[in-house]
Assembly symmetry: C2
Homo-oligomer: 472 residues x 2
Amino acid sequence: MPETKVKKTEDFNEWYNEIVELADLCDKRYPIKGMNIWRPYGWTLMSHIDQLIKHEMNNTNHQEVYFPLLIPESSFKKEEEHIEGFGSEVYWITHAGLNKLDERWLLRPTSETAMYPTFSLWIRSHADLPLKTFQIVNTFRYETKQTRAFIRVREIHFFEAHTCHVDFKDAEKQINEDKEIAKRLFDKLCLPFIFGKRPDWDKFAGADYTISIDVLMPSLRTLQLGSIHQYRDNFSKPYNIKYETEDGKHAYCHQTTYGMSERIMGALIGIHGDNKGLVIPPEIAPTQIIIIPIIFKGKEKQIIETCGLLYEKLKNEGFRVKIDKRDITPGNKFYDWELKGVPIRIEIGPKDTEKKEFTIVRRDTSEKRSVSQNSSILIIKQIFNSIKEELSKNAEKILKENLHRVNTIDDAKNLKGIIELPWCGVQECALEIENILDGNTLGEPIDNIECKYTCPVCNQLGKTWMRYAKTY
Amino acid sequence: MPETKVKKTEDFNEWYNEIVELADLCDKRYPIKGMNIWRPYGWTLMSHIDQLIKHEMNNTNHQEVYFPLLIPESSFKKEEEHIEGFGSEVYWITHAGLNKLDERWLLRPTSETAMYPTFSLWIRSHADLPLKTFQIVNTFRYETKQTRAFIRVREIHFFEAHTCHVDFKDAEKQINEDKEIAKRLFDKLCLPFIFGKRPDWDKFAGADYTISIDVLMPSLRTLQLGSIHQYRDNFSKPYNIKYETEDGKHAYCHQTTYGMSERIMGALIGIHGDNKGLVIPPEIAPTQIIIIPIIFKGKEKQIIETCGLLYEKLKNEGFRVKIDKRDITPGNKFYDWELKGVPIRIEIGPKDTEKKEFTIVRRDTSEKRSVSQNSSILIIKQIFNSIKEELSKNAEKILKENLHRVNTIDDAKNLKGIIELPWCGVQECALEIENILDGNTLGEPIDNIECKYTCPVCNQLGKTWMRYAKTY
């Protein structure tokens, strides 16, 4: 059976670049570099991820909004740190039709500066708080580094939640909720991740602190999928987001944001895929079950009929199921659907029809079994659960095996993956370690693990652990 | 009970401008004119409309894609007629970060020029046809006329289907399918409409012909909600969208598009609303049923409990239902939910609780009735059907009463609404009538009704009827 030209196990990055197009997720031939076309299969997959996010948002009383794409330069410039962080990465609209605009407008790189002038109008009293909103939109960044589908692009499919609170404590509660949301979401996607508190010099422009959500890709580089930011009143002051307290005073709101991007797609592709192509967790698979008739002469009608009956049965149970009736060999069909990562393949041939059975093949393990037609629903559900567990287990194993806690640079030097070293809290020491390891700081573990060892650069007692990794 | 400040029946346009904000659909205070903020209630309503459109697209085997927002000037200019139609209405990106771009990029005003270079790569053989795709995205037009929420905006929530076919005949079949889709969709929205074949000088840039979908607003101006375009091979030639035929030759595809916008929201608001606010068809209502406890001292617990039980029952049946437990008077609650157009209000007070009944109030007719708790589900479904029928009937009545077929300009002069006059087929004659009636040509009826009368301008025998109306 043919496999992808490049094997995941031999050259992950090349395999990745190839599979995103082979599996019909995207088309990279759009004439603007880093702006890719979402093909139907890729778009459906992303939509299913979006649905999971929306489900979490609904259950936590966030409300969906849509703020305009274009931001006037004057709104953007109100928050000094923010413009410093983004100024060199935004696209500018200068003309409309044949006219030059009086003021330049930029495409949202993220929506703080689009939303917050309006939040200051929406919020009047403590009764308006907390304000919990989100939107799923595209954002735009002028990437100068090499682009990579879903991982580093210039038009980014993006989720952003923005909340306003009476005080720091209530904003912290939101951040805890965000962390729980991340745990539930990434559990469904079978993607183990780590939270890390970013060092001050690497936090989001304008944030008080930033917690990043990182996964480990098979190349043993980390990929940041999202982040959660505590803003305190850093934005509410320049944007004048105030409320009247219960005792009639005025106070600035405390704010948080939670962002995630299409990089989730990148992680799914990279972490679960194999040499045959994608492997998609059942919950979000555009097609969960593919039925393939194994036609033998003289039995065509009977086989197609059995496939049709099973299709109806599965569809009525709510499964996303298809029959592949194309006039090509079963082998070619297997190849196509394995490439696309469909979790379960069902083969129905003459023997199966006679025995009132069919053959189920799992995409992740290639395990094959005969199943009686009567018990199909139950067994499919069991297999879906088992696929989910298996994908999670495999990914967890890789993350665990490549997360190293060591005390000295010598111990760290030959390790790959994520390395935790004692850290004194001084920027220069962390930057020196970045240099030596040729990696980036990921951040501190957020669970405040005690560190009894000394910083390997300055030999002061470590205040905490700091993680380093090569990153995308 | 308070009503909106301006009455729909007294000043429709002012009422409309007021209600879109009062009912929390949008916020017009965004600092760029014509780019409004979608508030949660408005966004949910639009999402429900989008879901109906996606449902139609799925059932007709259209596949959802997403093409980039930005279009290089060179792609845009390939189709001469197209650029003439849109050149003065687009936004130009000239800079990224601190750099001037080598080539200017524009924000999509519509996606032909973004998609078709790629269609020419996707389509190789007749087996790839028909190609049926759609996307729901925002488009951008530099409107210089006065803007109006949902009706004339500069960032437009937009649905666009693009299809490619082996020949003109197959493309015509698509247009018939599109017309059926429109009928099913607008039936669900209770919006009667007319199809009109646009005159040549007013068709879409690049189209062979254009069919518009127009509704009549209460101001007796028409509002175009969408259009269906036959492109023949007008785009496939400049964009080189060719395929190999069954007998090994090469031919250009024939193409169609079908577009609709957030104007559907405008029509829903305008046509169904009344002096109390919005009236939303049950199928798309963000909240379909609002339960209002009518609290009497000493009975609080019992009433709240009854409300809770009913809420659970209705929720389990799949209704979108809420309880309003706010600490304000029932009258204020009625006002709020009437403003928002919630189809059914259920009041539960002490008497209702004792009698195992509750009171149902219809939003559209204000009709009130007591209903036994046991028969609630069935009766609610009946009322939903009845609301749908009533909304459709009322809107049809207004359309019918204001669609006039007359033979002379004198007969037309004092009429309001849509006027059909005989037309000889010559542009100058139609333009003169536009001038005299101070209206616009809407187009010919698409059902080829015979016209035995003479053109009121040139006195030649009319080839067809032409419709005129004041338009938004």
